[in-house]
């Protein structure tokens, strides 16, 4: 009964437009009252959910990303990619995907990717004669690279929610192959659509210009290398690594790009703390919610239900994928990671899946939710930038969904896609 009240309240409150974090919090609070548990515990969990040191990596990722963006890394990346892949038919589409892949190695978030590259590339593509729906579709779907390719703050959230079952280093490395595969398969989709619509290609600016663009872009791209490298080598913890990433980004834009101003620093800080508050309040109230899920033994319940439907791991994993895809359509990614990990991870492990592989699967599934209607932050942002209605753009997005879905199936059923590289690099 309590469990029904909890979920019913949550969905009703969220549906009525209450911010998701507060819908989680209020639904939990009322359930605490119903169970006769002191509401002080609900709020003690709010503080407890935030009292985890590696969680600090999240604001640092956000901060480093803000700095690189405002410092002008975006344009430098786009120039480089234009020189490298612009000659392909529908060149700007390729540039869009590849820029996302490279940018994914700096930013931890798909929304940052959409806003950074989308606001640059969508207008350029429109001016070059590409249809708006195509420009938006490519931008939005390729932004998933930010989540899957390391560093990724959503992976930090997953590692925390998994309670040590999957290490951050392993997850980071495991994201590389699926992330690159996803971008390549999006490149193919973008190419096929471009050929069908007869888009043109871009001229090659010459080797010399390409090298200059590369020299401009590389120091900024190195921010991500520092963060990931610091974690992998064990020299820094993930929190320290991301803080060093911030300091490095500051140094690059101050000394090399020379775009650092006090105004810009203040704007980045304000924007960082605002995003931090958004994510953290979600983490916090989700901890209250998770406390109740534990009390009601929800993970065991789901395990029992799913194994009642089928004992075939193939089917169970498919069911998990479908659940994620549906949930992702209606809810935000961070909240889903925090709620679903304790529920579905034990089921997936039972079905023989490695927690690291499951993490990548979850990132892709829930990331896809960011690009689907009705609730998709990236899709919404992309449409706003492109000045197009969601219905219009979604009509032609299916080749791109298909491209991601194909890789998702690979990740689900071929463990090596995510586990080969970490096993190779982090042996023992």
């Amino acid at each position: 009964m309590g469990l029904t009240i909890l979920f019913l309240l949550f969905f009703v409150l969220m549906g009525l437009g209450m911010p998701i974090a507060y819908a989680l919090g209020l639904a939990s609070l009322i359930t605490f009252f119903y169970e006769g548990i002191s509401p002080a515990i609900a709020f003690q969990r709010v503080v407890g959910g935030l009292s985890i040191y590696s969680l600090l990596a999240v604001p640092f990722f956000i901060f480093a990303g803000e700095l690189m963006l405002r410092g002008g890394i975006g344009m430098k990346l786009v120039n480089l990619c234009l020189a490298l892949v612009g000659r392909v038919r529908g060149g700007l589409g390729q540039v869009n995907v590849i820029s996302s892949m490279v940018f994914g190695g700096i930013s931890g978030s798909a929304v940052a990717d959409t806003s950074a590259l989308g606001s640059m590339l969508i207008p350029v593509m429109k001016k070059a004669g590409y249809d708006t729906d195509y420009a938006v579709n490519v931008t939005v779907t390729s932004s998933l690279a930010g989540i899957v390719i390391p560093p990724s703050h959503n992976m930090v959230l997953y590692a925390l929610a998994a309670g040590g079952a999957a290490s951050i280093s392993n997850l980071f490395i495991a994201g590389i192959v699926p992330g690159v595969l996803m971008c390549l398969s999006l490149c193919v989709a973008a190419y096929l659509v471009a050929v069908k619509r007869g888009y043109r290609s871009e001229p090659f600016p010459g080797v010399r210009a390409t090298l200059i663009y590369a020299a401009h872009a590389l120091p900024g791209m190195f921010t991500g290398v520092i963060i990931v490298g610091g974690v992998l080598s064990g020299v820094f913890t993930v929190t320290e690594s991301s803080a060093i990433g911030v300091i490095y980004a500051l140094a690059v834009i101050a000394l090399l790009y020379r775009t650092l101003t006090l105004r810009m620093l203040v704007d980045s800080l304000v924007s960082t703390v605002r995003t931090t508050a958004m994510v953290m309040i979600l983490v916090a109230t989700a901890a209250s919610f998770a406390y109740l899920l534990s009390i009601y033994r929800m993970p065991e319940l789901v395990m029992f239900t799913l194994s009642g439907i089928s004992d075939n791991p193939f089917v169970i994993l498919l069911l998990i994928n479908i659940s994620f895809l549906i949930l992702g359509c209606f809810m935000d990614m961070a909240a889903l990671i925090l709620i679903c990990t304790p529920i579905f991870l034990p089921v997936a492990v039972q079905a023989g899946m490695d927690p690291v592989q499951f993490g990548i699967l979850m990132m892709m599934n829930l990331g896809l939710g960011l690009t689907t209607p009705p609730v998709g932050a990236c899709l919404f942002l992309g449409c706003t930038i492109g000045g197009i209605r969601m219905e219009q753009t979604v009509k032609t997005i299916w080749p791109f969904y298909l491209a991601i879905f194909a890789v998702l199936m690979l990740v689900t059923y071929v463990p090596a896609v995510s586990l080969w590289l970490p096993n190779l690099l982090l042996a023992n």
Partner: protein
């Protein structure tokens, strides 16, 4: 209405202070983590207070600013159903959400104060301050939530078309 406008101007200031504090605290967090690395590799002695201090600071950054998010509407919300409503329906939908948020804020403040009272004589390990400081941000966030909700309700009643709501524009320092 003039009184309400004056109140909102005071709250603008409160919001400014919360942002300024959070921004400074965020900069300090980076410095703490950097100091930890510096201590370990260069001074060959790790500072033992940085982790606990950072954990405390993140609460002061996140929780009060989350309350500000209710005033500035920057939190993630699902707007499919509200978008389908008539202006009148939209008005009541917002009232409903605000009352819910206000109740949550009140409970948060209440729990924050209770937890502070219970823990005031305990110490945070390695920095030695009272553990009540851990729960103070809850109380602050709860109180600010109630105030901002009251402000939004007052504006909604005073000016249902919300032409002059003070916080429709995004904030900048």
């Amino acid at each position: 209405m003039p009184i309400l406008r004056a109140v909102s101007r005071v709250l603008d200031l409160a919001v400014w202070i919360i942002y300024a504090f959070s921004a400074l605290a965020m900069a300090s967090l980076v410095i703490f983590a950097g100091w930890q690395v510096w201590g370990r590799y260069v001074l060959n002695s790790s500072p033992t207070w940085t982790e606990q201090a950072a954990l405390l600071l993140i609460l002061y950054i996140s929780l009060p600013l989350a309350a500000v998010g209710i005033r500035q509407k920057f939190h993630l919300a699902v707007e499919i159903f509200p978008d389908m409503l008539s202006p009148r329906g939209r008005y009541w939908q917002e009232m409903f959400v605000l009352v819910g948020l206000g109740f949550f804020g009140w409970a948060m403040a209440d729990a924050g104060i209770e937890l502070m009272t219970r823990t005031v004589r305990q110490a945070i390990p390695l920095i030695g301050w009272s553990r009540a400081y851990t729960y103070l941000p809850l109380a602050i966030s709860g109180v600010m939530t109630v105030i901002f909700v009251a402000e939004r309700i007052a504006w909604a009643i005073a000016d249902p078309k919300r032409a002059s709501h003070p916080q429709s524009a995004p904030f900048s320092l």
